[in-house]
């Protein structure tokens, strides 16, 4: 259940990047990236999201990838209020990082480098 949610969240989010979405431009702006570069980066960011989602959903829920999902989910949710959107956008997206974190907790933290990569 948690695995499916993590995969769908990233595939769905990534799809918007591949399709390119005007609403994303201000998020890049928060990081100092100008609109023309933002439009070029969106498909790249989207492709990474979709790849990560498919990796976790179909291939294997690797711990370090789940940790990436936690960090990325938190960062992207944080960018919204920083870009001037209401704080509720961040609050509504708590599951975006909490669910990968819960999945990571269920799998258990890695005790070695090999654990984190498996």
């Amino acid at each position: 259940m948690l695995r499916g949610a993590c995969a769908a969240e990233f595939v769905g989010h990534g799809a918007f990047g591949i399709m390119t979405k005007a609403a994303w431009v201000p998020y890049f702006g928060v990081l100092g990236i100008p609109p023309e570069v933002a439009w070029m980066l969106m498909p790249l960011v989207g492709t990474v999201d979709v790849t990560i989602g498919l990796l976790v959903g179909i291939v294997r829920p690797i711990r370090v990838v789940l940790l990436y999902m936690v960090v990325w989910g938190f960062l992207t949710a944080t960018l919204r209020p920083l870009a001037g959107e209401p704080i509720w956008e961040f609050i509504e997206r708590i599951p975006n990082w909490a669910i990968p974190l819960a999945f990571l907790c269920v799998r258990g933290p890695g005790r070695s480098r090999h654990d984190w990569l498996s």
Partner: protein, 134 residues
């Protein structure tokens, strides 16, 4: 992370999804919600006359706060059902299907909490001493 911390993480996730979404109705009265009501055949005039956007928003906030304070299993089932229904309204209203797919975590959060609560109840029944140590 033990059972208790995981439970609180999921409580926070459920509460966040509902309070955050509910605020768009109760606090901001987001106009895009009219299209979701229209998707189930409720016209804008009826929504405005009865304050349905505020009503739904407040109900979501109340449910979200309750899931944080007192996550009753029946409430969590209701919340999961509501999330599936309300998120499905997005593609029905003409938004891309990815809007639904992207929100899978919001749908799964109450279900995951429900599963955890049931597992905890079983553990408490079978091994009360082991549970007391957690």
């Amino acid at each position: 992370m033990g059972f208790v911390r995981l439970e609180w993480l999921l409580r926070l996730a459920v509460a966040g999804a509902f309070v955050g979404h509910g605020a768009y109705g109760a606090v901001l009265a987001k106009s895009s919600w009219f299209s979701y009501f229209a998707a189930v055949g409720i016209p804008e005039s009826v929504v405005t006359a009865h304050g349905l956007i505020t009503l739904v928003g407040v109900a979501e906030i109340v449910a979200g706060v309750m899931s944080l304070v007192l996550p009753i299993p029946a409430l969590l089932v209701l919340m999961a059902g509501w999330k599936i229904f309300s998120e499905l309204l997005r593609p029905i209203a003409g938004e891309p299907a990815w809007e639904f797919v992207e929100r899978a975590s919001n749908i799964v959060a109450p279900l995951a909490l429900l599963v955890l609560l049931r597992a905890r109840a079983r553990l408490q029944k079978i091994r009360p001493r082991a549970w007391a140590d957690r």
